[in-house]
Symmetry: C2
Subunit: 302 residues, 2 copies
């Protein structure tokens, strides 16, 4: 083995390293991939109802980071949409010989079941994990807890939540946390399903205010949705934050550009994506879940 782990004495290894340095030797990725059948590309698969999930800015950030990390190792990244109704595609993806590793974004548990064992040690999830699929995710529970408690601390009691899509398991922890805080303060829970889009947020705002007109705060599990809520409330003539406070989740670039600027919770998306990509590229088999912190960012909207 010209590089790396082969069983060899320390002296021999040093000599090779010296030769490599002096001759300016650089390994050929294609030849290595061919000989070791290790693949030449890192696939990013995003699960969702439609291919439109690929256009989400969150996916863009993950992809950007992964492509940047992969570049250092001379591998490329490809982007795939995995239909929610037929995650069979995952197996198809996996037996492409050029596949070096796989990062699944927003996986469902059934989808994770279809990961072939041949991919063990070369797969990671951003979202929930599974056996032999290490996961990297935001600590949604404490993140939600932090935001909702901030709303409570600023005097709100009739707090509603717009969730993520119901099929997304990693949103469950957030909903749990919301329920728990509401129970603690003896408040009624008001949950409306969302789908992480702004359009849905505007609709959710209208639904919410029709059903529970005395709502004094809305927490959306996505900034995009929260911006939509802002829009919906504006259309209803509701003042933010005077009448209703609004908080989001993720701290996207535009959270600080909206009017009013969005109170939200910030997440190290780049760090998460980098960790997932690195885990796959470095072939570390594990089924550990790593959680990244969610930190409250108070702006004007709540």
């Amino acid at each position: 083995m010209v590089t790396g782990q082969g069983p060899a004495s320390a002296r021999a290894r040093d000599r090779v390293a010296a030769a490599v340095a002096e001759l300016g030797y650089v390994p050929d990725a294609a030849a290595r991939a061919l000989a070791s059948r290790s693949g030449t590309r890192l696939a990013i698969a995003v699960i969702g109802h439609t291919a439109a999930v690929l256009d989400d800015p969150y996916v863009g950030r993950v992809l950007t980071t992964a492509a940047h990390i992969a570049a250092e190792r001379e591998v490329g990244v490809s982007l795939h949409w995995l239909s929610l109704s037929a995650p069979v595609t995952l197996a198809g993806l996996a037996d492409s010989r050029s596949l070096g590793g796989l990062v699944v974004v927003n996986p469902t548990r059934p989808a994770l079941e279809t990961v072939p064992r041949a991919l063990r040690g070369r797969v990671a999830a951003i979202g929930v994990g599974a056996r032999h699929v290490p996961s990297f995710d935001v600590d949604n529970r404490s993140g939600t807890d932090g935001v909702v408690r901030h709303l409570v601390n600023s005097g709100r009691r009739r707090i509603a939540m717009v969730t993520g899509p119901s099929w997304l398991p990693c949103g469950d922890r957030a909903v749990d946390a919301y329920h728990q805080v509401m129970q603690e303060i003896g408040g009624e829970t008001r949950v409306v399903p969302g789908d992480f889009t702004a359009a849905r947020g505007a609709m959710a705002a209208a639904e919410l205010m029709a059903r529970w007109p005395d709502t004094d705060a809305v927490f959306a599990l996505s900034d995009l949705t929260a911006l939509g809520v802002l829009d919906g409330l504006h259309a209803l003539g509701v003042q933010v934050p005077a009448n209703v406070a609004v908080a989001g989740f993720d701290d996207i670039a535009f959270a600080c550009l909206s009017r009013p600027a969005l109170t939200t919770s910030t997440h190290p998306v780049e760090e998460i994506a980098a960790a997932a990509a690195t885990a796959v590229l470095d072939r570390c088999d594990a089924d550990r879940a790593t959680f990244f912190p969610s930190r409250l960012v108070v702006r004007e909207s709540a």
Copy 2:
């Protein structure tokens, strides 16, 4: 040649095609890359002062599209930052044997000079092009013309422009178009340099209003910057669009979510990226420039 163009009779080709279909044969990308020295990955190189340019949402859209297109051909995409001051990196990038093709985003003409001839037919630019480097870009000239004329038609005369970074050659056509319209209506030109960021937009707004207090419209060559201008004007207590109209360029996702919603010009970024990626992957040598239309989108801000 198992696939494609080799000299062979039509009958033989058909037989091969039939065999391929029945055996479910799928070529091995790594083996092909090794034998033909054609590389296994498509590199996207973005030019800018700092690596922060990689985080631009525009780059995200380009990367997403490229990664999706590349996926169909079993190749991956890697992302690179090219320092403006030392575009030497481009040559370094190019002699990596795993490089299959290159798409340069926002190139400068000097940077394009450093494209090695070995890359001919496997390189494309999003922005200005050069000899042997086909370019794919927005028709900035007519796009700007459309926006500025819209401002004129709605009664504005003292129109300022916030440009892109001065080193970006593809912004020149836009500045030209602005000058031309202003000359036609006999208006004074008021140009402030920008850098495509929101922060710069807010500063530019302050500078503009200090220097030319009677300005009644601002056109920014980037939506992000325009949103910053919106912010800056708000801080100054200037009403938009009552006192000053604001227009942007690009129609990013958040243009319709700002308050007031941003009037801008929409561009088929995905189409442009797809065309560039396809040109590189299909090895079409050319030095033709392809321009994509810019279409005015009137919302509330102008």
